[in-house]
Assembly symmetry: C4
Homo-oligomer: 208 residues x 4
């Protein structure tokens, strides 16, 4: 139960930062830095409690890699989604319920960007936070958070830069992404997480 509360808190503050940066004033160059850093600090704060996923695609990858039990999978997803929704409400309470301009989505490039950077994110998580070769390091949160920042700088204008099904829900709530597109984000991101776990196990055969 404590793990789920930790996932709830971490996803809440990640999405709260996303929401506050997306709602007016419009996102400037600092949104990726703020969002990546929010993930970083919550990973550093909660990694010893729940693993610090805050992202259903990460939880899927960590489960496939063998560091998350099957009983935790769905409760983690529920905690992450619930945290993201409440955070969207809180962001609107703080910034005002300002209408957000919906992104004009070019589906192919957007899903390619979401796939590639969600893959990168889960690849970085598995290698820095679950691999024997990097045990005891002090950089996992920095590496994980800044991967999201990089993706948001590189492709945020194309896909919205979610790389995270829970954040995608929040972006739908706030209005940046249309609800019908949400399923496409989820499928793409979860596939990327599973693919990253498969690549990780191939590259780290002794870690199975």
């Amino acid at each position: 139960m404590r793990k789920y509360v930790c996932e709830w808190i971490g996803t809440f503050f990640l999405m709260l930062t996303v929401g506050c940066c997306v709602i007016a004033p419009p996102p400037g160059v600092v949104a990726p830095l703020a969002i990546g850093s929010a993930l970083m600090v919550m990973v550093f704060a909660g990694g010893h409690l729940s693993g610090g996923h805050y992202n259903p695609a990460v939880t899927l990858g960590v489960w496939l890699r063998g560091r998350c039990s099957i009983q935790d999978l769905v409760p983690y997803w529920i905690a992450q989604g619930a945290g993201a929704i409440l955070a969207s409400v809180a962001a609107q309470a703080i910034k005002g319920n300002v209408p957000v301009v919906r992104m004009t989505l070019s589906v192919g490039p957007a899903l390619l960007a979401e796939f590639l950077f969600t893959f990168a994110l889960v690849y970085v998580v598995l290698n820095t936070a679950t691999a024997k070769g990097t045990t005891g390091n002090s950089f996992y949160g920095l590496a994980i958070g800044m991967t999201v920042m990089v993706g948001a700088f590189a492709a945020g204008s194309v896909s919205g830069g979610a790389f995270n099904p829970a954040v995608a829900i929040g972006l739908g709530w706030i209005g940046l992404i249309a609800w019908p597109n949400l399923a496409l984000y989820w499928i793409t991101e979860l596939l990327a997480g599973a693919f990253a776990a498969w690549i990780f196990l191939g590259l780290n055969p002794k870690d199975r």
Copy 2:
């Protein structure tokens, strides 16, 4: 006594940076980066001496969590407040005593923002700097400082982004916050610190 001097120095440089970034030229996108980094470097420099709080809400949370003695509580608060006030004077000496435009405060959203991000700050402090599960890490200062940066990016335009009763005093001195609102900031921030300590103890039962 050495601990109090260290708290005084750290809060001085935190508030000096805040003050220099708030007084003309007006705060741009870099103020949150500068302020969060100022906290980071002072936490790294003084953590082994005083714990590196530089924030009465953090000191309250650390005391409730059991890592600060009751005799230190009030001296820490005095050192932090004194450091913030002198730093405000120093910032005015450096940048010129330019009139600062007072924030037009929307009380509800501002206090919500101060509560949430002060909670996040104390939650991060307790988990990265006082938890058994993260002992010996090299990231506590980065995590703590960047939490303030995230909060300032997300909600600085709403509340001023103090998340710290000592900094709130400094912002009152410089003129960004009206004196009558100061008590609201203090109560909100101290409540958030206490709440974070309570959540921390629930999530880390072996750390009591």
Copy 3:
């Protein structure tokens, strides 16, 4: 073989970030931060697998320093080049195949900048990731990635800020650098890598 896949993945994401930041919208102040951070996260993720070079000049320097076998040299270079080319294609698929304005190159200053900052990069890699004096540290990825960021901030407008023959290929593909200039970049960067290895061995005589 696993090492080469890791080098391929890391160089792919480094160049993907470069490409997405170079193709419209034009590079702003964030490109160096994004690119340096992309290198950082991939070094943290893959350092335990392949050494995390992602750069033929780094591989040359690490080989001369004695931490990379001669059999790995060419496969590493091929993996890095292939990753950079595919990433350039992927960046065009994400951002659109927008014509990029070719840099007007002042050859002397550009090659001086490429030499100096490629030297700095390999010097930092060898000292933070292969020296006995810094064994077991958690900062190598941060130091390496931010060296590229510094070089790109300082001299990106002069040379394009490659500091990496594989990235130079990608910049040629995208159109920022003219193909005939590519050989100049390669020679300059490889010379800088070799010179950094020579200096490193002089400064760390016990590490031979």
Copy 4:
């Protein structure tokens, strides 16, 4: 001798970054980030060789604190100054020998800013890189480099943000600071370094 070469290299790249960011295009919001990061990467790269000072005021403070021999003091200063001058020439070769607009200096605020942030820098160096209480950490370079970034953000527009007599020479060479003012910078910065050493020894009595 190796130590002096390392100090020369590190100060060279610090000042090269300063110079490239000061010469046209004019310094934007990124100059402090670039300069602080240049110091960070060179401290991480050379700390195990020479201590990674790259700053005569730091060398003075480290000597007073007892971690630098008296025979090294003047050679370190010479290496730092020589590195800064050659770097200024290199920066002009890369960026073009563009006339730099001299700062209009308000002496009192400028020297106050230089004193306070040079103090902060040496205080952070001594506590993170020479104190028993922080032995073996992986954050010293981050803390040291970001202190300079913070100072440059806070007071760069007032004093030029040198916090370093060797960098002050470089700023004189490039033309940002008038030569007659240089002695004021040196005296102020060296006093700040000595004061920081005195405070450090008071706060860390067991480290004497």
